[in-house]
């Protein structure tokens, strides 16, 4: 024993334990995010609880079981809860999502195990997904279609009515966003044009008349669209459904607000899988609703991807050129050493410092000057002098510059020197060698650097909070209005979405599953990018190893 101890073997095991802890925590973390994020879309059963509390009152609660936990009985007793029967040391407590936000005080309710008299999963409970006030749970009593009450085949009638309303609402939304949005955009352009003419002292009567005519034309057009929009909305308001809720009362729900209905208790596994896929699809393709706590994350995905691509376009040339300089041109002198230290430092500077720099230098200084020069008509309202997607991309480009440099340089250093010498010996200039031989061979390494940079940028939040990200962007950075790409706009970002919904939202409890789902999405994207990059790099190493021999 003593000898064994002296040999240091236990300490070796301890260090092995550290590896196990690290591995276990990474894997555990990923599994946690995956399980929480993915289970959110699973159509869980709806329970009906009959509850009798200590004072003898009975009630019915319908909802999804959200969470359960063990609570020491003693703690409950001290907090003033009485039990009829003797309880064990711990009591099970359930958090039930009851929905029906407009009729109950809280849409989440704690229920103690011993209070539950009876638990059933009755068939026929409908879950209504709504664009306002969250989910609604209850039994469908009847459907009112165009004034007629339908009790026979009510499910089919309900599905048909919902499809119709959703369709009409979509059309109305498209009209509002595309046609009416375009008119508003053009009106704003006209206002700026007028202001510009005024600033240049060229606002003649003729010009004014011309502007007014254009404005009038737009307003006329607007009236037509508006009428159409109202027509769609009125049409969509036609039907409603009568539902018996958990209080036993009949409630009329306008189908105008209903997005979808499902009967999870009546679904078999296969149907549930389909429903799951549908929900997942909606999550990535829908706009957020109700202060981001419900609906999808499409604008955040779009904003993240757009910003990251813009950043990639900026960072690649600079990073590659810098790496080529460091590896192919720079001598082993003090300047090179200083540049190398700056690369390391750029990689080590906290991201928030980049945010501060971006806000001060890009947004206020550069953007402010651009506004003075090119957009004086919009002042004092800023055009580029306010956080926006271009500034975010630029800030993150500096932040990820070292990633591209380090990775490209590694690629360059793996290309055997004999290739360079061969090319030079055949009479090519250095520039030609680099352009024709080195860069094509190093392109997978450049790709690796780029992927790593994109992965880093996609997960970075702190600097973006200062230079352009918002919790809710009314418009995407790309739309149908000339010049189609709006680099001055603010955008939504998956990482910021997680922070905002998880910490700033009014109903954290309701939003939490959504945050897990968003996290899962972000983690998946980033890990996929990283694994791809690692894969390319390893492949490259193998390839050059064989070249060397």
């Amino acid at each position: 024993m003593k000898l064994w101890f002296k040999s240091g073997a236990p300490w070796v095991w301890m260090t092995a334990g550290a590896v196990s802890i690290s591995l276990l925590s990474v894997i555990g973390l990923l599994l946690l995010i995956a399980s929480r994020g993915l289970s959110f879309f699973w159509p869980s059963d709806i329970h009906q609880f009959e509850i009798a509390n200590s004072s003898g009152e009975t009630s019915v609660i319908i909802g999804e079981v959200y969470e359960s936990e063990q609570v020491p009985t003693q703690r409950l007793i001290t907090s003033g809860i009485e039990f009829d029967k003797e309880q064990g040391e711990f009591v099970e407590r359930y958090l039930i999502k009851t929905g029906n936000r407009e009729y109950v005080e809280l849409d989440f309710q704690w229920v103690l195990g011993p209070e539950i008299v009876k638990e059933t999963r009755p068939s026929g409970i409908a879950v209504f997904e709504r664009s306002k006030n969250g989910n609604f749970y209850g039994f469908v009593d009847s459907v009112i279609v165009d004034g007629k009450t339908i009790r026979e085949n009510k499910e089919d009638a309900l599905f048909a009515a919902i499809d119709r309303a959703v369709d009409l609402n979509d059309q109305a939304l498209d009209l509002q966003n595309d046609e009416i949005g375009a008119i508003n955009y053009q009106l704003e352009k006209l206002r700026l044009k007028e202001r510009k003419l005024e600033l240049e002292d060229e606002l003649t009567d003729a010009a004014l008349r011309d502007l007014e005519n254009q404005r009038q034309a737009l307003r006329d057009e607007y009236k037509v669209y508006e009428k159409e929009l109202f027509a769609f909305r009125d049409e969509a308001r036609r039907d409603s459904v009568i539902v018996k809720d958990m209080r036993g009362e009949l409630v009329t729900l306008p189908i105008f607000y209903v997005l979808d209905v499902s009967f999870p208790n009546d679904m078999n596994f296969f149907e549930k899988v389909i429903q799951y896929g549908k929900q997942l699809g909606k999550f990535v393709s829908d706009d957020p609703r109700e202060a981001n706590t419900e609906g999808g994350v499409f604008p955040a995905i779009f904003g993240t991807v757009f910003m990251v691509l813009l950043m990639a376009v900026i960072v690649t040339p600079f990073g590659v050129v810098a790496a080529i300089y460091l590896h192919e041109y720079a001598g082993n002198n003090a300047v090179t050493k200083v540049i190398r230290i700056s690369v390391i430092n750029l990689a080590g500077v906290p991201s928030i410092v980049y945010g501060v720099f971006g806000l001060g230098f890009f947004v206020y200084m550069l953007g402010g000057s651009l506004d003075q020069l090119f957009y004086p008509e919009a002042l004092p309202g800023p055009t580029f002098g306010t956080p926006g997607v271009i500034w975010s991309a630029l800030t993150l480009a500096i932040l990820t510059l070292p990633v591209v440099i380090v990775s490209t340089e590694e690629g360059l250093s793996r290309i055997p020197g004999s290739l360079r010498q061969g090319s030079l010996a055949l009479g090519a200039t250095k520039a030609e060698t680099i352009w024709r031989i080195i860069i094509p061979m190093a392109s997978p390494a450049i790709m690796t650097g780029l992927i790593l940079a994109v992965a880093r940028a996609a997960g970075e939040v702190a600097p973006l909070m200062l230079v352009g990200v918002v919790k809710m962007a009314p418009t995407l950075p790309i739309d149908g209005n000339f010049p189609y790409v709006h680099l001055d706009r603010k955008f939504m970002h998956l990482g910021f979405h997680i922070y905002d919904v998880g910490f700033q939202s009014p109903n954290v409890e309701a939003a939490r599953p959504l945050v897990y789902a968003t996290s899962f999405l972000l983690v998946t994207v980033i890990i996929t990018l990283n694994i791809t990059a690692i894969g390319i790099r390893n492949h490259l190493r193998e390839k050059y190893k064989s070249l060397e021999h």
């Binding site: 040999s7 240091g8 070796v12 095991w13 092995a16 334990g17 550290a18 196990s20 802890i21 690290s22 591995l23 276990l24 990474v26 894997i27 973390l29 020491p72 003693q74 711990f90 600079f318 050129v321 080529i324 300089y325 041109y329 300047v335 190398r340 700056s342 390391i344 430092n345 750029l346 080590g348 500077v349 906290p350 928030i352 410092v353 980049y354 501060v356 720099f357 806000l359 001060g360 230098f361 510059l401 200039t429 520039a431 030609e432 790593l452 996609a458 997960g459 702190a462 200062l466 990482g495 997680i498 922070y499 998880g502 910490f503 954290v508 996290s519 983690v523 980033i526 890990i527 690692i534």
Partner: protein, 749 residues
């Protein structure tokens, strides 16, 4: 043929040119990286620098020559028009624009019935002037400027307003025969407080509350009076706070501070001796927001007093003092003139020498001589970018550049005694709703928070990260290492916002509930690993041989997982057994420690998790690249694996390990999202593991979007970023330097 050569020559030269061009182009690109770093450095510095600039004063060519006697002056917000007020309630307006040589542009007289016996002015930001007549009726006037926008040009028209009606206020005296000799007044939300002294020396306080009559629409005043009989000795000065809640009466040696919130009964709060040996009091003034009383003495000393809520109850104490720093032997403080909202004030001497001081930062901002002596009054502009000086026969306007008087290097890093605080302290409280808020910019609490967060993170990350790196590099089987290394790299790539979110919303409640489990885990884990090792040592060689060398960590995974599960399952039982069933209550009540749900433990674990990969990968590289010849030599001489590791490998790799720790520290110091989400972000100074902190980075993230561009707050946040930049710059540069040295050493081996 010759044509072809020509083309060849031509292409030759273009090729040469292209080669040169590429060379310089690439060089510029490389140097741009350096420029980017320098740009960040100098831009941050450029924004921060004005904070430490001292004040500048230069005179404006706008001197008005006066032919009347005035007692008070003022200037409007745009500093275009100044005014002076005569003792008989006439307001004369002058053009104060540069180069306009101060012509008089208007004169507005207000009718005051009877004979004026006394006059006085309110706190500067209220801009009121009062005239008391021989019936003890007060008329209050307010000069103001009407702004018109006609034809897109702005024009200002001076006016005089009577904010309390055309009629003078009701009589303050019921007995005949006495007149008011001096008085001060203040108004807040329709309540007027007037502190006055009669000819016979009696001091009285009147509280007037205006109520509009429903029928006649006239204001009816309810007057409450009280006699202040506690004053002993000749009254030198009367002062009243702008909200009429405190009155100050100064005699030769004493100051009386009384609560005047309830008018009918003025309650004496403090009587303080303010005399200094051989020195006379020359002046007394209240600063902006009127928490502080400034007293000037004949030897040029100015003392600041305010109410504090100390351990021994409330008290009125002298907090700090300033000394006039002027040329000439006459240093006696003639008068003190405060700014509208900030704690900057001017102190003058009778010869026209002035000093600019700021109380909070204890800064002596400017010292110089005014164009005139014998100053009657000085008044700042509302934006504090100019002031007017009224003397016997001229009115001068001076420009002031004094953007950030509240910030000094010592104020940022040393304890400061803020108004209302019991003692000097480090406080970060950057903003508040009111204009005259005393900003508290101490970087100490947030720097402390940064170090605290980094320390707890390192406490968690260094042992695990280094141990894991050593094992992976030295003992682990290559096949396992191939999987472990990328896994840890992926751990590094995890967005910190996700770590922060999990820490704040999942880990924090979990640990709060299962705290005994966490303690149990920390105790059990090493024991379990040790026992496993011992068990493994004692099982037959045959079974042992089945497992390849260097797979120990894989073998340990189920054991670690089981211990973790077991500890958390046992947590409620341990809680019942050791902590009376509720750990949180136990910690707060029995141990007397405050317990935040989002505390340093959470930050330590979450940020440690983010730092482990940084430490791991650099340390692993360092250990792995120790030449095999060294360890082989040691093993050949009979040392065990562990002995070789400790005595040979680690010793050689120690600079690399050091640089790994430095890099990790750099990362922990700058991390934003995790601390933002996993702590309560309160700027407290306490090492307790159960409390949170506010770090430099989180502070920037929280406050930057709300700070006004160019304000002191904005610049201090830039300073915070600069401090972070320097912190990480130092760590990274040292680490990189050490690493480069190490690389050179290995290459020679």
């Amino acid at each position: 043929m010759s044509g072809q050569t020509n083309i060849a020559l031509k292409t030759e030269s273009t090729r040469k040119f292209k080669d040169k061009f590429a060379k310089y182009g690439v060089m510029t690109g490389g140097i741009l990286v350096l420029c980017a770093l320098l740009l960040i450095f100098f831009y941050l510095l450029y924004v921060v620098k004005p904070v430490f600039d001292s004040a500048h004063v230069d005179s404006r060519e706008a001197t008005s020559t006066l032919d009347k006697a005035y007692f008070a002056t003022g200037i409007e917000e745009q500093t275009e028009i100044s005014y002076a007020i005569t003792p008989n309630a006439t307001v004369d307006f002058f053009n104060a624009e540069d180069g306009m040589s101060g012509q008089q542009i208007a004169s507005i007289a207000t009718e005051v019935p009877g004979e004026i016996t006394a006059y006085s002015q309110s706190a500067p930001h209220k801009g009121l002037f009062g005239f008391m007549n021989d019936d003890a009726r007060l008329t209050i006037i307010k000069p103001f400027f009407k702004i018109d926008f006609k034809n897109n040009t702005r024009s200002l028209t001076p006016r005089v307003q009577l904010p309390f009606g055309e009629e003078p206020l009701p009589e303050l005296l019921d007995e005949e025969g006495y007149t008011v000799e001096k008085f001060v007044f203040a108004e807040e939300e329709g309540v007027l407080g007037i502190l006055y002294q009669l000819q016979n020396g009696a001091v009285r306080y009147a509280r007037l509350e205006g109520e509009e009559n429903m029928f006649t629409e006239e204001i009816e005043w309810i007057v409450e009076q009280s006699e202040l009989d506690f004053v002993d000795g000749k009254v030198e000065r009367l002062l009243i706070s702008p909200d009429a809640s405190r009155i100050f009466i100064l005699t030769k040696n004493e100051i009386y501070v009384a609560n005047s919130r309830v008018g009918s009964e003025v309650e004496l709060l403090y009587t303080k001796n303010i005399s200094r040996p051989n020195q006379q009091i020359t002046t007394a003034k209240l600063l902006a927001s009127a928490n502080s009383l400034m007293l000037g003495y004949t030897d040029g000393k100015i003392t600041q007093w305010f109410e504090v809520n100390g351990k021994a109850g409330r008290d009125f104490v002298q907090v700090r003092d300033f000394t006039m720093d002027v040329e000439g032997s006459d240093k006696a403080v003639a008068e003190i003139y405060p700014e509208f909202y900030r704690r900057t004030f001017i102190a003058t001497t009778s010869s026209g020498e002035v000093n600019f001081f700021h109380t909070t930062s204890e800064a002596d901002l400017w010292q110089g001589k005014l164009p005139t002596d014998n100053i009657t009054d000085i008044s700042f502009s509302p934006r504090s970018n100019a002031f007017v000086v009224l003397s016997a026969n001229q009115l001068d306007v001076l420009n002031v550049e004094n953007e950030h008087p509240e910030v000094t290097w010592s104020g940022l890093w040393q304890e400061v005694w803020y108004e209302g605080y019991a003692e000097p302290d480090y406080v970060w409280q950057s903003s508040s709703a009111s204009d005259d808020f005393e900003s508290k910019f101490s970087l100490v609490p947030i720097s402390f928070g940064t170090l605290k967060a980094a320390m707890y993170a390192m406490l968690f990350a260094v042992p695990i990260g280094l141990a894991a790196a050593i094992y992976t590099a030295y003992f682990m089987a290559p096949s396992v290492r191939k999987i472990v290394k990328p896994t840890v790299e992926i751990m590094e790539a995890l967005p910190t916002v996700i770590l922060g979110f999990l820490a704040g919303l999942w880990l924090a409640p979990l640990i709060e509930e299962k705290l005994p489990g966490v303690i149990l885990l920390i105790l059990l884990l090493p024991v379990a690993i040790f026992l496993t090792a011992f068990a493994w040592h004692n099982i037959p060689q045959k079974i042992r041989n089945r497992m390849p060398v260097g797979w120990d960590s894989i073998l340990l995974i189920p054991i670690v997982a089981f211990v973790g599960y077991f500890s958390f399952e046992m947590s409620p039982l341990v809680e019942e057994w050791l902590f009376d069933g509720n750990t949180r209550l136990y910690i707060t009540n029995e141990l007397g420690i405050t317990f935040d749900q989002r505390n340093s433990l959470i930050v330590g674990i979450a940020m440690g998790f983010a730092v482990i990969p940084t430490i791991f990968s650099i340390a692993e590289d360092a250990v792995f690249s120790v030449p095999k010849t060294l360890s082989s030599g040691s093993l050949a001489l009979g040392a065990t694996q562990w002995q070789t590791l400790i005595k040979v490998v680690l010793l050689t790799a120690s600079p690399g390990i050091f640089s790994a720790v430095m890099m990790g520290l750099g990362r922990a110091v700058g991390e934003t999202m995790i601390v933002l989400m996993a702590t309560g972000n309160t700027p407290i100074m306490d090492w307790s593991i159960f409390q949170g902190m506010r770090t430099l980075s989180a502070n920037i993230a929280v406050e930057m979007p709300e700070s006004e561009v160019g304000s002191s707050h904005y610049r201090i946040l830039f300073l915070a970023a600069f401090v972070l930049f320097i912190f990480t710059f130092v760590f990274n540069t040292i680490a990189e330097f050490v690493r480069q040295r190490l690389r050179e050493k290995y290459s020679s081996l």
